[in-house]
């Protein structure tokens, strides 16, 4: 491109050299202020690359990292709420719920902690899900709905292998002496306990089998046992489904939901906040 640029006779400005049917385009130079701003930006970028991490494996002179920045701001926030967290750590969930200031903080913090740690199984509003994820918003509790009960359940978890975890295992009756038709009869009897049964004859056949195998944990009238975590069977709430097929599956092969112990994972203050939050979801017992 050593050619002398063509000049527009009218303005004296160089053209781009292209000719479209006699129309040429002026190659007007950029305004000086624009050009110098552009150079200043390049200079700024160079300084930036020296000071801040911009290339792979190269740390900037300032030693800045976004992660450290985050940790520092977390520290600030943690320090900010530290006095409140200390109070929440010392107080019992009942005391927190009775104090409007602590309760407001616990509900707000509990909502976040619940969304982070619990909502994966129990749902964003604590509604649970069919298949072993209990609803925390209803009035049916496997291990009790008082502040103390909820607190303990969160702290120790369920069937997670720890010695003090809640819950015992239910036998799989297909390998514990019952035949499949017998299991069907028991299922019909269980349905009749909550008034949803459709086959009284089968239920009558299942009654003695229920008395022999199930009442130890689930109670004579299917009222359940909170110490063992044996669900109540004479209500409308089913952890794994209340239709006959689901019940047969449950009785034949057993069910065993698990939940981690949160005592070692979460700050005790956080567990207290979660307790207050879960208690307020709609089913808390006094």
């Amino acid at each position: 491109m050593a050619k002398t640029p063509e000049r527009d006779p009218h303005s004296g400005t160089a053209t781009t050299g292209h000719d479209w049917d006699g129309i040429t385009e002026l190659d007007t130079p950029m305004p000086a202020w624009w050009l110098y701003t552009f150079y200043a930006c390049i200079a700024f970028a160079v300084v930036w690359m020296v000071l801040f991490p911009s290339l792979p494996y190269v740390r900037g002179l300032l030693g800045y990292t976004a992660r450290a920045d985050f940790a520092a701001s977390m520290e600030v926030q943690t320090a900010r709420i530290a006095p409140m967290m200390a109070r929440l750590r010392e107080a019992t969930p009942e005391a927190i719920a009775a104090n409007p200031e602590l309760r407001g903080f616990a509900l707000a913090g509990g909502r976040i902690a619940f969304a982070t740690n619990c909502a994966g199984c129990h749902g964003s509003g604590g509604q649970g899900a069919l298949g072993g994820f209990p609803s925390l918003a209803d009035d049916d509790w496997l291990y009790g709905g008082s502040f103390a009960d909820i607190h303990k359940t969160i702290a120790v978890g369920v069937r997670n292998g720890d010695a003090d975890a809640r819950g015992i295992a239910m036998p799989a009756y297909i390998s514990a002496g019952l035949t499949l038709p017998q299991i069907g009869d028991v299922a019909d009897y269980v349905m009749s306990l909550s008034g949803t049964g459709t086959d009284p004859a089968a239920a009558a056949r299942g009654a003695p089998l229920f008395a022999a195998n199930c009442v130890a944990c689930h109670g004579e009238r299917g009222e359940g046992n909170r110490d063992l975590g044996a669900p109540r069977l004479n209500d409308r709430i089913w952890l794994y489904g209340g239709d006959k097929a689901s019940l047969v599956q449950t009785i034949a092969y057993s069910r065993a939901g698990v939940m981690p112990a949160w005592a070692g994972r979460l700050d005790p203050a956080m567990i207290n906040m979660l307790t207050v939050y879960v208690h307020a979801l709609g089913g808390g017992e006094r």
Binding site: G123, G125, R232, R236
Partner: protein, 489 residues
């Protein structure tokens, strides 16, 4: 190469021509002084008016309390969600401006625009310190002198004092006036306060002291589109050329009434010659009317060679006067051809109509404005909860906004299909067991309500509900609606 003369492109900026307006006395000038005094008094005094609203509430009559998200205007207190009242008020101002412009021309620009008012004030100070037009021109053109420097310093000092008062007054509409004055003077105000104080001081000083008519000519969008509001029946500042032309010296015969003395140009704050006809730069202040009337008075000629006149009348007068040579007969013929001001015309009727509709809407909305509102939000996760006895329960978040400062207590009742039971979490109950909601004065109180449909009760998948809030005498003071959802069967 063809030999074509290369022309310089036209300059992008017109060189600033300094304007030295002369002082003038007259009717229009007096009206302008009165308007200036009234408007500036309102601006500087309003923040100091006190209005008792009880303890813990700002007692400033007009205050935009940004920090607490409240707008106070005497007896009115607006929340952020009611900002549409402000929008409506501004729409009202805009339509009022359109209507006034179509009737009377650029009265806003010439008399009430802050740029005009403060520029007028700054020019008055300039005349007091540096003298009138001729003295200023002479001093500016002459050699540097101690006297000139002294006067300039005095002028700028006075300007800056006024600019600071103006910037300070602006801050007072956003913060408690007595407090912020003390804070500003003792250095105790926030950096933000100083920034805005400085910003409005600088803009006042710059716009009224230096930019002046260039704001109207180059910066302001209003002159660009107000032509759309003007028509042949709008009053505009007009030179009656049918009477004044041909101009000529006083002593020579055969001329019109204009003696080409230049008084109209010398007093013009934007430096235009009104005799050239309508032009963008003319702000319609009418000072040339006063200047010309003064000259006509001295010559014992009828006043009104320059006047607030409609273009329709100007055309009629021109036609009527065309067949006369400059003479009293020409003047008479021209003046007799004029018709009275044509106020009622489609354009003004339309503006009046729109104005009345907006006023009616605004007034209605304002008078029917709720000071207590109940917002009901049905909880979506989960939409319903099955209880152990087979009941279906829905949960609702109730937000009770109380814009008053009385701590009211209200009974919540449910108005909906038969058989639904209402409870409110952690709420007290009245003698009949109905939940009591205590309002939070000047704040939003949040409650969680449960509605339960007992087992065996059948209803639609979605039933409409209305939550009503009753006062002690049973009157419904607020209500909100929602739906009750149940699983689909």
């Amino acid at each position: 190469m063809p030999d074509i003369a290369i022309q310089d492109p036209p300059p992008l900026y017109a060189a600033h021509r300094k304007i030295y307006p002369r002082a003038v006395k007259g009717r229009v000038r007096s009206i302008k002084w009165i308007v200036l005094i009234v408007l500036l008094s309102i601006y500087y005094i309003v923040p100091w008016i006190r209005w008792d609203r009880g303890p813990g509430v700002p007692n400033q009559a007009v205050l935009a309390d940004i920090g607490n998200a409240r707008l106070f205007f005497f007896w009115v207190e607006l929340w952020p969600q009611e900002i549409y009242f402000l929008t409506g008020f501004l729409i009202l101002c805009a339509i009022g401006l359109f209507a006034a412009t179509s009737l009377f021309g650029r009265v806003w620009c010439g008399f009430t625009c802050p740029q005009t008012v403060w520029t007028d004030l700054f020019m008055w100070i300039e005349r007091k310190i540096e003298g009138d037009r001729n003295a200023r021109i002479k001093r500016d053109a002459g050699p540097a002198s101690a006297d000139r420097t002294r006067r300039r310093l005095a002028k700028h000092a006075a300007w800056i004092v006024i600019a600071m008062a103006t910037g300070g007054a602006w801050i007072m509409y956003f913060q408690d006036a007595p407090t912020v004055v003390v804070d500003l003077l003792t250095g105790g105000a926030s950096a933000q306060t100083y920034f805005f104080f400085g910003l409005f001081t600088l803009t006042t000083y710059g716009l009224a002291g230096f930019a002046r008519e260039q704001v109207c000519t180059y910066m302001c969008p209003w002159p660009r589109f107000q032509g759309a509001m003007l028509d042949r029946d709008s009053l505009v500042v007009t030179y009656r050329d049918w009477r004044g032309e041909p101009r000529g010296k006083l002593k020579e015969a055969g001329h019109g009434d204009c003696i080409d003395c230049g008084a109209c140009v010398h007093v013009c704050p934007t430096g235009v010659d009104i005799r050239l006809g309508q032009q963008l730069e003319c702000i319609g202040c009418g000072l040339c009317v006063d200047a010309c009337d003064e000259v006509m008075g001295k010559l014992d000629r009828p006043q009104g060679l320059i006047a607030f006149e409609t273009l329709a009348n100007l055309a009629a007068s021109t036609a009527a006067a065309a067949r006369f040579a400059p003479s009293p007969a020409r003047l008479q013929a021209g003046m007799e051809a004029r018709r009275p001001l044509h106020i009622i015309r489609p354009r003004t009727l339309m503006y009046a109509g729109v104005l009345s509709v907006v006023v009616a809407i605004m007034l209605g909305a304002f008078l029917l404005r709720d000071t207590l509102t109940l917002t009901v939000l049905a909880e979506r996760a989960p939409p319903y909860v099955l209880l152990s006895d087979g009941s279906i329960r829905n949960a609702y978040t109730l937000k009770l906004a109380d814009k008053t400062r009385d701590a009211g207590r209200f009974v919540l009742v449910l108005d909906g299909p038969h058989g639904l039971a209402l409870t409110v979490q952690d709420a007290e109950a009245d003698a009949q067991g109905r939940p009591i909601l205590p309002a939070r004065p000047d704040a939003v109180a949040t409650f969680r309500a449960f509605v339960v449909s007992p087992p065996g009760r059948h209803g639609d998948d979605s039933e409409r509900l209305r939550f009503r809030l009753q006062d002690a005498s049973g009157h419904v003071v607020a209500s909100g609606s929602s739906v009750f959802l149940r699983p689909h069967h």
